[in-house]
């Protein structure tokens, strides 16, 4: 028997956060799967990896990162990729994801997901690097649409056209963040439904849900609130269009007690069950 759960990723899972290790392990929480933030387990040892191994023995997991910087014009960071590969070999995730974004320039990291200009140049650059990374890791990646707060004057296509082209060029899959598309759509004045209908059905392997924060002139993606009603509405439309895609609740700021996340995941599960 394997030391790890052999279950597949299905239904509404929760992002694994260190404040909840005890809740999960002591109570054998009834959650179908967890998403693990890759970089939180890049240390050589210690408690984080110890707990992760325990969680992994009971649950299937996915690896989600912010560090690949696929859109950056800096050289690919192969020490980062080697560490990620090692972690993947250690915990055997169902898949690995990162973002349609860049995070460094001139080797200065901003630790924030910055948007690309959706140009032919950026598309070719991103696709070429994604192919290299998929080759290095030996698997297909899921690429997630980011929340963004600015748009460039010089573009050749929309974000969803960029994603479509990327799938064609690299055979990658998509992680569709419904909250992000709502935030970006509001900030830049596009229709999330148009975005949704342009997604290549069958390529969307995971969905993210989270809570944004409302500012005077824009929405900000804090991952610090419950999922807002219009995002639930868009989620329902997404599941109707794409089918019961595995869905994840993300929460990173002011992390609440675990039960609240279980409750939130339960709401997503309800939508999945109703439409299935």
């Amino acid at each position: 028997m394997s030391r790890f759960s052999q279950a597949t990723i299905a239904g509404a899972g929760i992002g694994l956060r260190s404040t909840h290790y005890q809740d999960i392990l002591n109570d054998k929480a009834a959650v179908p799967w967890f998403e693990v933030l890759s970089e939180n387990y890049f240390g050589d040892g210690g408690l984080p990896l110890h707990y992760l191994e325990q969680v992994r023995s009971d649950y299937p997991v996915t690896l989600h990162g912010v560090g690949m910087s696929l859109g950056s014009t800096d050289p690919l960071d192969f020490s980062y990729l080697a560490r990620l590969k090692q972690l993947a070999e250690q915990i055997e995730p169902a898949w690995i994801s990162d973002h349609l974004a860049w995070i460094s320039a001139g080797n200065r990291y901003v630790h924030d997901l910055l948007p690309l200009p959706y140009t032919e140049e950026a598309l070719n650059h991103f696709a070429e690097r994604l192919l290299q990374v998929q080759d290095f890791l030996g698997c297909r990646l899921l690429i997630e649409n980011p929340s963004s707060y600015l748009s460039y004057r010089k573009t050749d296509m929309t974000e969803w056209e960029f994603l479509q082209e990327l799938v064609d060029k690299t055979d990658c899959d998509i992680l569709f963040d419904v909250n992000n598309v709502y935030v970006s759509g509001t900030n830049h004045g596009f229709d999330p439904i148009e975005y949704l209908h342009a997604l290549p059905v069958g390529r969307v392997k995971e969905i993210h849900l989270a809570g944004y924060q409302k500012h005077d002139n824009y929405l900000f993606d804090t991952h610090g609130f419950r999922v807002h009603p219009p995002v639930w509405e868009l989620y329902r439309a997404t599941i109707e269009h794409l089918g019961p895609v595995p869905t994840l609740i993300e929460w990173d700021n002011d992390i609440p007690p675990f039960e609240k996340l279980v409750d939130e995941a339960g709401m997503a599960q309800k939508v999945l069950d109703e439409i299935a």
Partner: protein, 260 residues
């Protein structure tokens, strides 16, 4: 590739430049759209706030005692200056912040707290120890089997998590009374004197142990790569017969190799 590269470098410069409306921001603003409620520069400033906020929070998480000693507002202001001037050079945010202690030492407005830089160094060592490699116990049988003629070439090593810290201030005490769960007196007498500390992890337990002068001298020499034949020189003045077993039992010596 030049368009994309230039745009990204300009974006970065606009985020980190000193003034709120500097040349990089003005140049970058020409490349992005304004919207109903926000100017182009306003859009960039959302990122500036988020990025400096993330780095400032990261420093606050690594340096909670410094933050407590300075107060949130002073600490955040100082951390923001550091974040603007000291690039993060790794995709892993856990690697950021190691230069903060040296920065504090040279940060004029914090000079009234002369022990602060050492408290920061202690907190950094703690942060690194938390993520350091796990250790198996040292192989004593292998040590006993080293032929007598080779003992001079033994190079002991400290646990992977361990860092030594010497300070002119009782920084361990300062650290301790500023923990959330500390119940006792908050006063620390700064004349209480020097501290020689080892900050490390024993299995999963974080530790800050005080060293006496013999222990500190021995572990310092080992940390600098001294071999057994150097440690046993009379002028080192180390009572190795009792000192070595004691340090081993404490867990401060985690292994050895034979120098070629």
């Amino acid at each position: 590739m030049t368009d994309l590269r230039e745009l990204q470098h300009l974006f970065r410069d606009a985020v980190f430049e000193e003034t709120s409306d500097g040349p990089a921001l003005q140049a970058f603003s020409k490349l992005i759209n304004d919207s109903a409620g926000l100017s182009a520069a306003g859009h960039l400033r959302i990122y500036r706030g988020a990025i400096l906020g993330t780095l400032t929070r990261a420093l606050g998480n690594i340096y909670p005692v410094c933050k407590r000693l300075l107060g949130d507002q002073f600490f955040d202001g100082m951390a923001r200056i550091h974040a603007r001037n000291t690039p993060s050079q790794s995709a892993d945010l856990a690697n950021y912040g190691g230069e903060f202690g040296d920065f504090i030492a040279s940060f004029e407005p914090a000079a009234t707290l002369p022990y602060l830089a050492d408290v920061a160094r202690l907190e950094w060592h703690w942060h690194r120890a938390f993520h350091a490699a796990d250790e198996a116990a040292m192989d004593l049988a292998a040590l006993n089997n080293v032929p007598l003629a080779d003992t001079g070439r033994i190079a002991f090593r400290l646990p992977a998590s361990a860092r030594l810290l010497d300070s002119n201030f009782p920084v361990q005490k300062i650290w301790q009374v500023n923990q959330d769960d500390w119940q006792g007196d908050q006063d620390v007498n700064l004349d209480e004197g020097d501290a020689s500390l080892i900050i490390w992890r024993k299995q999963y337990g974080m530790r800050i142990d005080e060293l006496d002068s013999q222990e500190s001298q021995l572990l310092g020499a080992i940390d600098n790569g001294a071999l057994f034949n150097e440690l046993s020189q009379p002028d080192m003045g180390l009572e190795l017969d009792t000192l070595l077993p004691r340090c081993y039992q404490q867990g401060w010596i985690a292994g050895f190799t034979l120098d070629a």
